[in-house]
Symmetry: D2
Subunit: 388 residues, 4 copies
């Protein structure tokens, strides 16, 4: 199922040092398929910690930097053939834009965490830069890497469900059901802090995943929305609960919920899409199944790696059916797409779209506009138009 190609690509990581959560996930995901190796880093905003973290991960001192600026300078000082193939940005949101913009402007391929930037203006600038520089730019909306999400996308977009009428997406967590940020928890602290996270809390952190999942699977464009954001845990500055009604171009309706105060829930991301002929249901906590309720005939359960899945879903797996793949594998599928694109460009060719299957800078920019629109709708307590 998997032919690990040689030679490995080389990547630099910005952020993701000790105590960070998401950096290790990126490294596991990249390691899984053996296609790339960590070659440089600026792993923390604290120089000493950056150095230590890099050493612990086996980065040679000459490539282990105290800041992203130093890393950029060092890379540019090398001949093009010796530079890293990819820069991975896993810092808190507030620094995404300056870092991503600088590397993209310098012609580097980039993978950046979501949300892409703090403002849609920043995002627009980045889109323009990436287009001008013709570089690869991936955004880790990682849930679209699940094989069964790709199967859902194929079934919706091929018309198997008929015209889509209703979409309900929820991302429910419980980890912020208490004021965890008051206990010194690092993840909670920056995610509830407007200075680091921007104008949105739960909406930005997980609501943007929900938006991307809907857009990716259905291809529908949100036309209008009315949102209600709340900081339900006393004293919290950003929303920890967001719900909204959606209207899509073409007449479909939708509901989106993103909430981090559902005590006892873990990562309950779930999508339901209803069309004229049937309804699809998928849940991240049971990701190897896709449920297809048909208007006529018994409900079907599609499972990962079956021979009757679409090509995109089959390519997204590594092991036989019935052996569960999980979060890291899905995350790795985003990287597979990025790597395919980079390799194709290095080879002077164009990647097969089924291989270069990953969320791009435009998806990231739409996500930022979505956050701005929902925040405004909630503040103004009314329906607002959205230009997807």
């Amino acid at each position: 199922m998997n032919d690990e190609p040689a030679p490995r690509l080389r990547y630099a990581m910005i952020g993701g040092g000790r105590d960070a959560f998401i950096g290790a996930v990126h490294r596991h995901a990249i390691a899984l398929d053996g296609q790339a190796e960590l070659a440089a880093g600026a792993l923390s905003s604290t120089p000493e910690r950056a150095r230590e973290s890099g050493r612990a991960l086996g980065i040679a001192d000459a490539h282990n930097h105290a800041s992203w600026q130093a890393l950029l300078e060092a890379e540019l000082a090398r001949p093009a053939s010796e530079r890293v193939d990819l820069v991975v940005i896993v810092t808190p949101t507030d620094t995404h834009f300056p870092i991503a913009q600088a590397f993209a402007e310098a012609g580097f391929h980039v993978v950046c965490d979501k949300p892409l930037t703090h403002t849609s203006q920043q995002a627009g600038t980045l889109v323009e830069t990436v287009a001008r520089q013709a570089t690869v730019f991936g955004v880790t909306y990682n849930y679209t890497g699940y094989p069964m999400v790709r199967q859902a996308r194929e079934m919706v977009r091929s018309g198997a469900l008929g015209a889509i009428r209703k979409v309900v997406v929820e991302y429910n967590q419980g980890w912020l059901a208490t004021a965890l940020e008051a206990t010194g928890n690092k993840q909670a602290s920056w995610r509830t802090d407007p200075a680091r996270s921007g104008i949105a809390g739960a909406l930005g952190d997980i609501g943007s995943h929900a938006e991307n999942l809907v857009s990716s699977v259905t291809g529908l464009q949100i036309e209008e929305l009315v949102a209600d954001l709340g900081a339900l845990v006393t004293g919290r500055a950003l929303d920890d609960d967001a719900s909204m009604l959606l209207r899509f171009k073409g007449g479909a309706r939708g509901v989106l919920v993103a909430s981090q105060i559902n005590a006892g829930l873990e990562n309950d991301l779930r999508l339901r899409v209803s069309g004229e002929n049937g309804t699809l249901e998928w849940r991240q906590e049971e990701p190897n199944r896709l449920v297809h309720h048909r208007r006529e005939g018994p409900t079907e359960i599609f499972t990962r790696a079956s021979s009757w899945l679409c090509e995109a879903a089959r390519r997204a797996g590594r092991i036989p059916a019935g052996h569960p793949e999980g979060f890291i594998e899905a995350f790795a599928n985003i990287y597979r797409g990025v790597f395919a694109d980079i390799r194709a460009r290095k080879a002077g060719t164009t990647a097969d779209p089924l291989d270069a299957d990953y969320p791009k800078v435009g998806d990231g920019a739409r996500g930022v506009r979505f956050i701005e629109c929902a925040v405004a709708s909630s503040a103004e307590r009314r329906w607002l138009p959205f230009s997807g």
Copy 2:
């Protein structure tokens, strides 16, 4: 678990003749516990069909009437001791008010289907009449009859979850995913016809169940809502899809979805209630389980008939744990409550509230106001206050 008391109560049924759906459900539910017997009827608006239907059900000719007016007149002509104990109204919504009002005014105990009436003014009149006549008046919001719904109610209201912050309720069906009303289907025809169903379609038919479930379980009062109703199947006069955001008194937020165009779904009523300490989940299609996600500690699955359920939940069952009870049993629990109330009044006592546990005329009236508010919010496309 069940001691069938003697003697049986006697009930009259209005509507529910041949080809009707819900009348047979009421009869099964009443029959299940052997507490009452069908003694009189006006089973159809077509006199001949009324007569035939009554005979098929074993109603003696002298008690088998061509119209509800004839039935009322005949009952009143009898000595009080020979009259039926209860009148069950299972006609389409447009006739609920005149029939219910007439019987309540005449001092009869009544069970009426939901939604209670077409307008909140009618509902208000009915509430006043029932209060004045001091009669029993049940509304068949039957889902609150499920034992595990009563367990959820107890867990929420006793404070086990802490302050409630978020409520998500959905009632998703698929049977109106096509223009079934154009094929002569009786159920579809009247439910999509404003003359019979009133100002709301899916909202009235199943959204009102969702509202009642939330109100019953949480005791929260809706303070404001913004709704979006759509007739997503071309040519339909009433909504077949309704979604709304809710704000409750005290700060909790909510989402309510009621939709009949989710092709392939059956009766997917599901409730999720999150409080400070945990989250409850219940689904009508697996009614014997209640899932309790705890903020600390493993998730708990409560099952029907366990000795560790609350008294109200335990009383609502008939057979040991692990033997599923279903829709008819839950429906029968509403009747158990009504019968307990009637028997207590006949005995000149007051029923134990855990026995007389059924939705009353006030619940029905609130349901009608809820429908009116949601329809207005959708038409005006804005948040509206609601006086629960």
Copy 3:
């Protein structure tokens, strides 16, 4: 879906007085469809309790007897047209044979609980009597009344799965995980007492249900078996745990487990049947679903009351799809079959086999032979032939 026919049949019940469990289930099941009414009884082996129980259930004193012998005598003293249509036997197993034999010999239609008798010789006598008297004789192997079990039966027997190769059936309970019989619990006491229950405990009580489920669904005949019975709770006289390997005529293999010491399990009856083309799975605790794993293509979930079910499954329901039916409804389906057979015979006709669909005396007799064979195999610790 439901046409309640008139007039009602009249039945007598033997056993099932206060504190009995299964008698109330039979009465609920019979009441549900309104086809029959309790007209006579000998509800307890204690005369006083029999009288009280009968009165509480509304049996007229003239039909409320202190013993089954008195009931039989009184019935025979009446003209044939005034006798009950059916005698329901819900006593502990040790008295099944004398009672059933006496009523069958006297020409009464009978429904009897399982296991049918203590010995296969008794069962053989009963089969002979019923054949000679040409009476109706139902055995309440109630799980075969579930609509989805009937759907499974149709799918297996129609050849949709191809030749059957493997059958795994389990009935796991936990209620006897402690020495409940030592606490005075009535149900536990007689079920663990050889004098009342015969030579088998769990095997007889629930293993016989498992055997019947396999035989009913697959039509396969057990050819050989090796069993291992254990009394795993110290001091128990009868098996509380039974497992066995099965070989069927034609080459299929099987496993049967019946155990009452799985602490925390409720009524976990589950069946899995694999054929050349697919595998069916059904669980009693989620009875409205039948899972069909196909060799080629996505797994299918059949749900109760869909239009694409077989005729037998559709006839076995009362309400629309998505509204769960449960244990009582399934039990009532056995009675529907019995009633259809009785009504046909009263009318001098032959019932449609899809209506008269219930386990008969021959099924009960095979169940007793099965128990004897498994007990012997376990005692001799070897494979034994079985003549199904």
Copy 4:
């Protein structure tokens, strides 16, 4: 959660070239945590294919061998400090013994696929060699790497369930429901061929996983068994279906099923363990959940990565709760254990047993004896003693 230590270990792989299935799984699993790199290989029994496969995986030519003998010779020719740290054997079963024996005898640490060898005599020799050489020897009974299996192990062994009374384990697959070996399928061909697979088919391939899962979780020793093996697909030389009854030392009973002809099933490995106080259930296809039915109180669902799991389960994860981990992660946990042991030995210390948590050569040897015993019991059609 994971601190990738430096420097990487270096491993050689025997087998696992192009078209092999399990070799790629081992490589993914090893890559995931970045602890080791593929440094040498003899990847196929066909020299040319071995060379090509090695190159595709980036093995330098000097370390890329045409046979395992050549690899062994080349390694031994190097100074000890330049040799690989570990030899991974992923060939068909028939060659496990000579390869494993040669490398263990030469002092190499080894990971070998299961079943360990063809005969218990070979296995005994290997156990002796490993003991004498004091090397690390892991057997990839990979399912014991799942965090929730380790949680189950802790709950059983700590006595939380009380004395264990009943164990039911099944490993059901469907991929051999047709004569796939006749179509040229490589996996099917060698697994159904006695020359490559030894005396057992399904029993050896997946039944040995089931045995290991039971032994690992419960610590119980099988004392006696009666097995029934069948080749249910016509013309097959080895069993494709195996069922057996087990008796454990101390009085517990068990059932083990391993079958590859359940058309439509994928990798349905499931374990149920009942003790005096409760019952645990785990399924490989939903590996992030462990269900704990309690005798008293609601059923509990333990999920991966919760803070209330045991230490062994928590260490076996990489990402937060609610983000599913799967087969590769579990497999990687076996390697984590092996690596911890190797690193400790290199450092001259002893590994923390919670880190060096992997199936060892003794587990592999018991698995081979189990296969021999079950094959004999089936052939002789009787209970046989087993010395676990």
